[in-house]
């Protein structure tokens, strides 16, 4: 057991049971999975991606590349969870991943033996023969070997949420700089959000044995956090990672609300926040970097800072005999701290020659680690001393420090490039990379605690000034001001064997050398060729080392070599949180008409049209197939009277003295001449000359029109009209508003519709309501609008009532219709009725059709300009051989037509070169007792009466058809006028 007897920010009185790979262990509150496993003596926690090498925990933070686990069971199982940030909860089930059959015995470790042949990019040079073998053999093997953890394969039913937050100052990171910044800004009265990815505020103050203001640093942090939580204008968000910087001071952040709980008790697992901040202070600290040397990837080899974190924060000794390998003063601190805790330190190896650490352990300066050995974990290391001799040292833990990289990633999210600082051998954020963001403390390359405190305060003061808030002068705590000297040292030169740079993806110094040899020398080429930096840590562990190696090889400096671009997210974000609200019915709103409940109660089968739910058909007793219902409903309309809710059509109320002129400009035909009390059918074009939409517009008064649009185009048409009114012709005195949801509209269609309405409304004869007439009526004391319009070709009316009366009107109309031998009809019948008449939907107005294509050239007024007029006259659109809308009906032995069939000439092969068009809409017409269809056919208007084939190659149907007028039923339109 590696738990140190005392100390640490854990509650030793409580034990939490959990399992890892089936083995039972216990943890304490305050432990992460990694600290608990280390405490239990578990070093082996994973396998690498490519060579399946044994892997132990490397870090103590979210940058961990090795200790990734599957957490949870069943549909809750979450792969690739970093053991270093995962809080242990009661009964947690953790499993290692990417190994078979077990973590200790992984068959795929054979890859490691083949590694001479599996270097960077080897797969680009092979697996090409025989040709078919890639998909059949090689790729499946590669795919099975690749990947890390497993998704459950089941729907993620966990609850996730999204939220917005707004603040004056967003402070990212709650270490010394962040705490001081938040405190200062809070004192000044700013609205502050302090977000920290950890579950305790304090950053490295919790990991080091230091003092601030004469107190242990972790206690000072806890006291500051408590003070901040007491300020009403400050919000402290723990377990919250700011993942991305976006335009306009908008930041993405994920808060892990319940991941650490055995039972979320109804709370969301995670919340994805969009935080809008006027000022942002980036105090995200720094990440330590490793040094590359042969076999530096064994379990037990860890970053020195992590070793200190485990010791001080978790009370865990990462090993019993620890060696330290460093190029900076932090390594010394590691040795001292461990010695103070009673841990044996077997060696301190410093690459620097000009230093003389005064530490009570074997010290090697100007030395380097040149190899390690041990099965499934380090047991020994080889040190090359300053005189070139190699010495063996026993250690079950090797703490490595190669210096620190400021956590500047967010500052690259908007394309900013970092600045190289030679004195700390690291990139630091370039000021103004993100508007109104300032980096402070270690994130800004200032590694002294005092410096961080001061920078945090200064940044907050600057923000307060800009916000014109109160200036405050908080006390600057007493703290250590040591920066920690570092001498750049990236990899041990002149060694044999493989020195790892990217631990997860198995990229070694040799791979970078190979990339260089093959001229993949630009940073991007190097990254893409070797996969370096594409691991789940996004290169936080590996990029700097690889850059340095490439810089050495090319003879350029590191800043000349460049960096790859940091992209959001800072740490990977669960899709459940990013996509919160999208699962199940949440993806889009649902729209219901006022008669929805009535229709469902009637047993209607519902269908969705756009976002709307509509009745598709109303099965009658004994009907078992939709066609039976549909055919009956069609006949009902043709022979008696049918009732249909058509409320989903877009309805736009247009008013003003210039409304008529306005409509003239947006429709192809004239509307200013329309008489009050009349309705006209209109076609609207886009400015490129293609049909945008059709519909009827009624003139209710001199300055008052009501336009209908198709259901799907209601939004786009509204937007288009607003564009025309506001952007093109603001001088026109016209206003419009959508009233789609304000009015319920119900069609009463069929030869008996007049009889029906006569009983309800009174006189609706041709004299008072002629075809295409409209007017106000009263139904049961409710003011309603009556339109004599028909989408079925029959004598028909549509009644509009304020939406609240829709359901009641429907009930009344259906009752009356049934008394006349009619009843309700749904979308299927409506579609048949309109196809029989050749009326259009967006299957025909598909955005590629001109007015001429649709056979309605007569509706293009020559007396005025209108949107799309000029463009519609382009030569290609006047070509008589364009695809034109026609009707088709089978005339051969095959009586069926399928929607989406392509048209070919009678004797032609059904190949692309012979395609004459396609079928847009088909139905069985009970009126004509056969299938009919609408189709686009090249030069179709001139081919009426000819035969053609509708061919469906997908479903093997080849139908000989006659080309006919699309008006199958009552082409003269007498019935509607009757």
């Amino acid at each position: 057991m590696n738990r140190i007897p005392t100390g640490g920010l854990i509650d030793r009185d409580i034990s939490i049971p959990f399992t890892f790979d089936g083995q039972k262990y216990t943890a304490h509150p305050g432990d992460t999975l990694a600290s608990a496993l280390l405490a239990n003596g578990v070093r082996l926690m994973g396998r690498s991606f490519k060579y399946h090498r044994p892997r132990g925990v490397l870090t103590a933070g979210s940058e961990e590349p090795n200790a990734l686990m599957e957490i949870g069971e069943g549909a809750d199982r979450t792969p690739n969870t970093r053991a270093t940030t995962c809080e242990v909860y009661h009964g947690m089930v953790a499993q290692s991943q990417n190994r078979f059959p077990s973590l200790k015995v992984d068959m795929l470790a054979v890859n490691d033996l083949l590694s001479p042949f599996l270097g960077a990019g080897f797969y680009y040079k092979t697996f090409m023969w025989p040709k078919k073998f890639w998909e059949a053999v090689y790729e499946p093997i590669i795919r099975r070997a690749a990947g890390l953890g497993r998704l459950s394969g089941q729907a993620d039913k966990a609850v996730y949420e999204k939220a917005w937050a707004y603040c004056d100052v967003l402070v990212i990171g709650g270490g010394p700089a962040g705490l001081m910044a938040a405190f200062t800004a809070g004192k000044g009265g700013a609205k502050v959000i302090l977000a920290d990815e950890d579950f305790i505020i304090g950053g490295r103050l919790n990991s080091e044995k230091t003092e601030v203001d004469g107190k242990p640093s972790h206690r000072w942090a806890a006291e500051m956090a408590a003070k901040l939580r007491e300020m009403p204008n400050v919000r402290v968000m723990i377990r919250t990672t700011v993942t991305g910087a976006y335009d306009g001071g908008t930041y993405g952040a994920v808060e892990r609300v319940a991941d650490h709980l055995a039972d979320a008790k109804g709370a969301p697992r995670q919340i994805f926040w969009r935080i809008v901040a006027k000022h942002t202070i980036l105090a995200a600290g720094a990440t330590e970097r490793p040094i590359a040397f042969p076999d530096n990837d064994r379990p037990g080899i860890m970053l020195a800072g992590a070793v200190r974190t485990y010791a001080h924060r978790y009370g865990v000794a990462a090993g019993q005999r620890v060696a330290v390998f460093t190029n900076n003063d932090d390594g010394w601190r590691t040795a001292q701290d461990l010695l103070a805790l009673g841990v044996t330190v077997t060696a301190l190896i410093d690459t620097r020659t000009d230093v003389s650490p005064d530490i009570d352990c074997p010290v090697f300066t100007g030395a380097a680690v040149v190899g390690t050995s041990g099965r499934l974990g380090i047991e020994r290391l080889s040190v090359r001393t300053s005189d070139g001799a190699v010495q063996q040292i026993n250690a079950d833990c090797l703490a490595v420090s190669g210096g620190w990289n400021p956590a500047l990633h967010l500052t690259g999210h908007m394309g900013g490039k970092p600045t190289w600082r030679e004195d700390i051998a690291a990139f630091v954020p370039t000021p103004n990379s993100i508007p109104n963001l300032i980096a402070v403390g270690a994130a800004n390359g200032n590694f002294s605690t005092l410096g961080a405190l001061k920078e945090g305060m200064a940044a907050a003061k600057a923000a307060l000034k800009d916000l014109r808030l109160k200036q405050v002068r908080p006390h600057v705590p007493v703290a250590d001001d040591a920066q920690g000297a570092v001498a750049a040292y990236w990899h041990v030169p002149d060694v044999k064997g493989r020195s790892w740079l990217d631990f997860q993806n198995d990229v070694t110094v040799k791979d970078i050398e190979l990339a260089h040899r093959e001229n993949f020398r630009s940073v991007e080429h190097m990254k893409r060729y070797t996969t370096l930096g594409m691991a789940t840590d996004q290169g936080k562990m590996s990029n700097m080392g690889a850059l340095a190696v490439m810089a050495e090889l090319t003879g350029q400096s590191i800043p000349e070599t460049g960096t790859t671009i940091f992209r959001p997210p800072y740490t990977p974000v669960q899709m459940g949180a990013l996509g919160a609200g999208g699962a199940g019915k949440g993806f889009a709103p649902e729209r219901f008409t006022t008669t929805h409940d009535w229709a469902v109660a009637r047993g209607a089968v519902m269908i969705e049209v756009g976002l709307w739910h509509r009745a598709s058909w109303f099965p009658a007793a004994g009907e078992t197939h939709w066609r039976q219902s549909c055919d009956r409903e069609v006949k009902m309309v043709r022979e008696a009277v049918g009732i249909c809710d058509v409320s989903t059509l877009g309805k736009i109320d247009i008013q003003g003295p210039d409304a008529g002129v306005f409509l003239d400009r947006v429709y192809t035909n004239m509307f200013s001449t329309l008489k009050v009390g009349k309705v006209r059918y209109g076609l609207m074009l886009r400015e490129d000359g293609m049909v945008l939409d059709d519909g009827t517009t009624a003139r209710l008064g001199e300055n008052h029109f009501v336009m209908t649009t198709t259901t799907g185009a209601a939004g786009p048409v509204m937007s288009h009209l607003e564009f025309c009114a506001q952007c093109l012709w603001p001088e026109l005195d016209v206003k419009m508003i959508s009233v789609t949801e304000q009015w319920a509209q119900i069609a009463v269609a069929g030869p008996k519709s007049r009889d029906l309405l006569a009983g309800l409304i009174g006189d609706v004869s041709n004299a008072s309501f002629p075809f295409m007439g409209c007017g106000n009526v009263s139904i049961g004391g409710v003011n309603a609008r009556l339109f004599r319009i028909s989408f079925s070709g029959e004598l028909a009316y549509e009644i509009a009532v304020p939406a609240g009366y829709g359901a009641a009107l429907m009930v009344e109309l259906v009752k009356r219709a049934e008394a006349l031998g009619g009843g309700a009809y749904g979308m299927e019948a409506l579609n048949v009725l309109r196809i029989e008449k050749g009326f259009l939907t967006h299957a025909e107005m598909d955005g590629r059709a001109t007015v001429a294509d649709l056979g309605m050239s007569g509706m293009m007024s020559t007396k005025k300009d209108f949107i799309g007029k000029v463009s519609s006259q382009r030569e290609g659109l006047l070509d008589p051989m364009r695809e034109q809308l026609v009707g088709i009906r089978p005339v051969g032995p095959v009586r069926q037509i399928l929607g989406g069939s392509i048209m070919v000439d009678v004797d032609a092969e059904p190949i692309r070169e012979n395609m004459q068009g396609h079928v847009t809409s088909v139905c069985y017409s009970p009126t004509l007792d056969g299938m009919i269809g609408l189709a686009f056919v090249k030069g179709g208007h001139g081919r009426i009466g000819q035969t053609i084939r509708a061919v469906d190659l997908l479903r093997n149907l080849d139908t000989l058809c006659e080309i006919v007028s699309p008006q199958f039923h009552d082409p003269e339109g007498e019935k509607a006028r009757g």
């Binding site: 792969p79 690739n80 001479p116 080897f122 680009y124 040079k125 092979t126 090409m128 040709k131 890639w134 795919r143 690749a146 990947g147 497993r150 998704l151 394969g153 729907a155 993620d156 996730y160 991305g244 976006y246 993405g252 908007m414 040899r517 093959e518 001229n519 630009s522 789940t536 671009i565 992209r567 997210p569 990977p572 974000v573 669960q574 899709m575 459940g576 990013l578 996509g579 919160a580 999208g582 699962a583 199940g584 019915k585 993806f587 269908i607 886009r686 598909d846 382009r874 030569e875 929607g899 989406g900 069939s901 392509i902 190949i911 692309r912 079928v919 809409s921 190659l953 997908l954 479903r955």
Partner: protein
């Protein structure tokens, strides 16, 4: 250097010291027969085909950054030939045929994986549209299978068939569709072109054209003037800027298109799936990452980064379509600048300036077009004639009305 198993064994046993540079770093010559501006996928494949098919060796590809750094290096790697309209049909069909032989042709494994490409329909209208598309694909000689909802369920059982907002009505599967390793395509063409003597010149930005008497003479670059008999522009994302240096104005807007990848997970998706209610498409890479994308962000942009609304929308679509993805973590998002043309289809044509040629306007289709676009552009530049598979991508089609509007959304680039 020819790649083979033997080479890998030989080099593996000798410390991999024997591998040679995949391309040279030549200094620019004073002039070339043909200069291609843009060392992305299309520029490199154009150079390759010019050298290979037409025997023209005195060619330079000028790249302002690094080879393959254009959209070929930042896309969702999908290859398919299931377009709808004439013009696009034959072009992408030809492209898929070139893809199928690319590895052998280039002696470079671009990892074309014909794992299928499934388009979903969520209502009857969409289903009929898929049928039309599938029939057109079959008529073009490509493959297509129309699937019922049950077929889709059998093929991709992990999609949402329980409580979907837009239940799956059916689908159209193109079995020969799939994915390829995007960077490898650029590198394979680069290597092939370099082997044939093409000068690939990186870090060389074109800053102007020299045009005399309406004829191109050469290009000004950050590395000096380079004379050229002919110049081809293949600079997706910057097409308007480069063309403007020659005084041209184009029917193109630049937009940012984001793409996303999750952390690697064990294989779960063995095909490419496109959601029908909102633009969302997903596949799984050989490394295990779920690779997906959606619509362009929707506003003009030259910044290679997007914003949260589209990130969230795409993630929501992912949750709607494939709810198991909730436990996967998005690892990385990136943005590429795409040329959005005014009808959603590309342009491969001469320009009004003699000797200056344009390849651009690729919208969402540039990656899958790489072989056929390069081959067509090479044919046009070498012979002055349109290639048989790319006769309709004319620059003047907006003037004449012969647009190719697969989406039917008109001159609104952000709706294509």
């Amino acid at each position: 250097m020819h790649y083979s198993v033997l080479q890998i064994l030989k080099n593996g046993l000798t410390g991999n010291k024997g591998w040679k540079p995949v391309w040279r770093n030549p200094e620019p010559k004073k002039s070339y027969d043909i200069v291609i501006i843009g060392g992305g996928g299309h520029g490199l494949s154009t150079a390759y085909y010019l050298a290979k098919t037409y025997g023209i060796r005195n060619i330079a590809v000028l790249e302002k950054g690094y080879l393959g750094g254009g959209n070929v290096g930042r896309n969702t790697t999908i290859v398919r030939a299931n377009y709808l309209l004439d013009g696009n049909l034959e072009f992408y069909s030809h492209s898929l045929k070139l893809w199928e032989n690319l590895e052998q042709e280039l002696n470079y494994n671009v990892m074309l994986s014909q794992r299928g490409c499934l388009l979903l329909a969520h209502n009857d209208g969409q289903f009929d549209d898929l049928a039309w598309r599938g029939n057109a694909n079959l008529a073009t000689g490509d493959d297509a299978v129309l699937m019922s909802a049950d077929d889709v369920r059998a093929y991709t059982p992990y999609l949402n068939f329980d409580d979907a907002r837009f239940p799956i009505r059916g689908g159209l599967l193109q079995r020969t569709g799939g994915t390829a390793r995007h960077d490898a395509v650029a590198w394979g063409y680069a290597r092939g072109a370099d082997m044939r003597g093409v000068d690939l010149i990186q870090n060389c930005e074109v800053t102007g054209f020299r045009i005399e008497g309406g004829k191109i003479k050469g290009v000004e670059t950050s590395r000096g003037y380079i004379g050229a008999g002919k110049v081809g522009m293949s600079v997706a994302g910057r097409t308007s800027q480069v063309a403007e240096m020659a005084g041209l104005r184009l029917p193109i807007e630049s937009h940012v298109l984001q793409a996303f990848v999750t952390e690697a997970v064990k294989p779960v998706i063995d095909t490419v799936i496109s959601f029908g209610m909102g633009h969302f498409y997903i596949s799984q890479s050989d490394k295990g990452g779920l690779v997906f994308g959606g619509d362009i962000d929707g506003y003009n942009s030259y910044s290679q980064r997007g914003n949260l609304p589209m990130v969230e929308h795409v993630a929501e679509a992912a949750m709607a379509l494939m709810p198991m993805i909730g436990k996967a973590r998005m690892l990385r998002s990136w943005g590429g600048i795409v040329d959005m043309s005014m009808d959603g289809s590309p342009i491969i044509d001469k320009t009004p300036i003699e000797g200056l040629f344009l390849n651009g306007g690729w919208c969402y289709g540039g990656f899958k077009a790489t072989p056929a676009a390069g081959a067509a552009f090479a044919h046009l530049m070498a012979t002055g004639e349109k290639a048989a598979w790319a006769t309709k991508f004319n620059l003047n089609r907006f003037e004449t009305g012969h647009v190719i509007d697969d989406e039917g959304t008109g001159a609104r680039p952000n709706l294509h």
